[in-house]
Each structure stands twice: as C-alpha cells, then as structure tokens.
Symmetry: C2
Subunit: 192 residues, 2 copies
C-alpha cells in the first residue's frame, strides 16, 4: 500500500471517529506510519487529504447501499434491506457526522461530498419507492421523495440518538419505526 493510500485510509478512519475539526494531521501521520513530507507531497494540506478520504468513504457507502437496493426482490424488501444494513450506531454515519462539523460546512469543497452522497441516496431510495408505486405494491398516494427523505432522516437521526444515549437500541427503535411506516404503505397489508 502506498503512503498516499495509507494516508487516505487513516484519514478516513479518523474522520469517522473524531470528525474533521477533531482530527489533526499529526494523528493521521501516526496512524498511517508516515512523515510530514509524505502528506504534504501528496496533498496540499489537511483539507485536501480529508476530501480524498471523504470520496473514499462515499464510494464505500454507495457500494454497500447499492447491494441492498438493487436486486429482484419487491420494493418493500429492498427498502427494508437498506434499513437493515449492518451499521455501528455508536460510531455514527461517515457522511452524516461530517455534515454536522462546522469546518466541513464552511468549506464548500468538503461539504459538497456529503451533499452529493445524500442526493444520490435520496434519488436511489425515491426510485425504488416509485417502482413500488408503479407496480401497485405501495399505495398510489405514496410520495416517493418525501418517504425517501423520511427514511434517510430516520437513519441519520437514529445515529444521533444512539450516540447521545450511548445505546444502539435507540438507533434500532428509530429504524424499527421507519420499517413499520414503509410496511404500512404496502397495499396488500391492508393499512393495518
């Protein structure tokens, strides 16, 4: 593994664990077993390295998400598969946590990576929901965009609650609510 890749991976880990403001170049160098020179040779500074690490994380998340949302099952099964993806509630969302960081939001180059991820995720969820509506699986008055927002927000908010309580159950309870809501949209379930 090149030093550049080691730096990117170490930065990704630390951004996930401690956020952007809470991560220093020195921490990254130590975890990557690299010296100052390597970092400033490959990147202009902390922000550019963080941008690379965020792209890396975004790609990972998209890949994992697509595994759940693609496939031949019913729309409700695929949305449930997304909600049931293995997650670490106490760690938080790699993208969502960073969107709460002041310096990330203040730097458009960094923020846009999080925005693009959630745009992509919302579009994918909305598309699956719309498929379900067209197929007669979901009630025709289902609003795919609003429901996609609700699903994303529930997951993100679930992380917040779990971290506040330091209890993964808080995350699971919120996601359980989202699953109930999705299930309630299914026509054959008789809205009961």
């Amino acid at each position: 593994m090149s030093k550049k890749e080691a730096l990117t991976r170490a930065a990704a880990e630390l951004l996930w664990e401690r956020g952007y403001t809470g991560t220093s170049p020195a921490m990254i160098l130590e975890r990557a077993h690299a010296g100052q020179g390597s970092m400033y040779h490959h990147f202009s500074g902390k922000a550019e390295l963080a941008a690379a690490a965020m792209e890396h994380m975004s790609d990972q998340l998209r890949s994992r998400t697509e595994d759940a949302l693609a496939g031949e099952e019913s729309a409700v099964a695929r949305v449930h598969a997304f909600l049931d993806l293995e997650r670490d509630p106490l760690a938080g969302c790699r993208m969502g946590r960073l969107a709460q960081d002041y310096e990330i939001v203040a730097d458009d180059g960094l923020r846009v990576t999080t925005a693009d991820f959630f745009t992509w995720l919302g579009d994918r969820l909305s598309a699956v929901l719309a498929e379900g509506v067209r197929a007669g699986e979901f009630r025709p008055d289902t609003d795919p965009d609003v429901m996609a927002s609700l699903i994303m927000a529930t997951v993100q908010g679930g992380y917040v609650l779990a971290r506040a309580h330091q209890d993964p159950a808080a995350f699971r309870r919120a996601v359980a609510g989202a699953k109930q809501v999705v299930a309630s949209l299914v026509v054959s379930s008789g809205q009961g």
Copy 2:
C-alpha cells in the same frame, strides 16, 4: 448581566455554532467580553463552562417543546405543533449536534446532558401519543415509544440533511414525512 452569565450565554451560542471541539475558551471570552480570570474563577475550565451552557440550552429547548406539547388540543395537533416549531435547519439542533462531537461523547458528564434531554423528549412525545391512543384518536396498534423515536430521529436527521445540502427544504421534507405518518395513525382519517 454578570460575567458568569455572559460567559454561559456566549458558550451556548458558540457550542451551537461550532460544536465543542470547534469552540475555544478564547472565542468564548471574546464574545462574552471577559478575561481569562473570569472564566477560571467561575468554572474549572472549558468542560465545566460547556456543561453549564448545555444545561442552559437544554432548559430552553424543554420550555419551547413543552409549549407545543402541552395544551388542550388533540394529540395529533400537539405532535404536529412540535414538528412545526420554529427551527433553524442550517444551524442544527443544540443538543443533537453536540451528541455527534467526539469529545462530548468521550466525557460522560457532558454527554449525559444530551442523553437526559432526549430521554425527556422521548418520554413526553410517547406520553402524548399514548394519550391519543387511549382517547381513541390514534389506531390502537400504535406503539408510542417507537413512534416517539421515529419523530425525534426525523427531526434530528432532517437537520443533518439540511446541513449537508445547505438547504432548509431538506429539513422540511423530512418533517413533512413525519407529519404524514402521524396523520396516518389517526383513526378518523381512515388510514387513507
């Protein structure tokens, strides 16, 4: 206003704007128009001042929340009033944002203030929902705890999405979803 109060207010503002890690004592002193001595006379350090500021914010939020959830209206009206409270989506939640901060979660004394707030909020929402169920307003299979979690998570996640996109509409879309869900629980609406 005493220096102690000025410091507490300034710290509360900065914690909201920049989080715990992103706020330095120097920033607080400048905004409070106070010197180092004032801060270290009244508080043992940054953590203790932050704790006081967080208690202050928690009290504010509880008061505002109670205004929406109390009253004589129907349960659905009160939950909708909570969801419709005036918020600044781009600023984020005073408590929720801090729960994403590494140093807050690492310091139990600080984290517990956020946990207590969400415990209180969840209990209040759950109580209102349970009232609605008992009154025959909500469907009898409504799970108040799960729905309270869903509502809290939607608001918290809405903040995350709005900050990522730098667009308050992302918050409003998620909250609109939560309102639809709550409305769908009402018996007289015919689940349609």
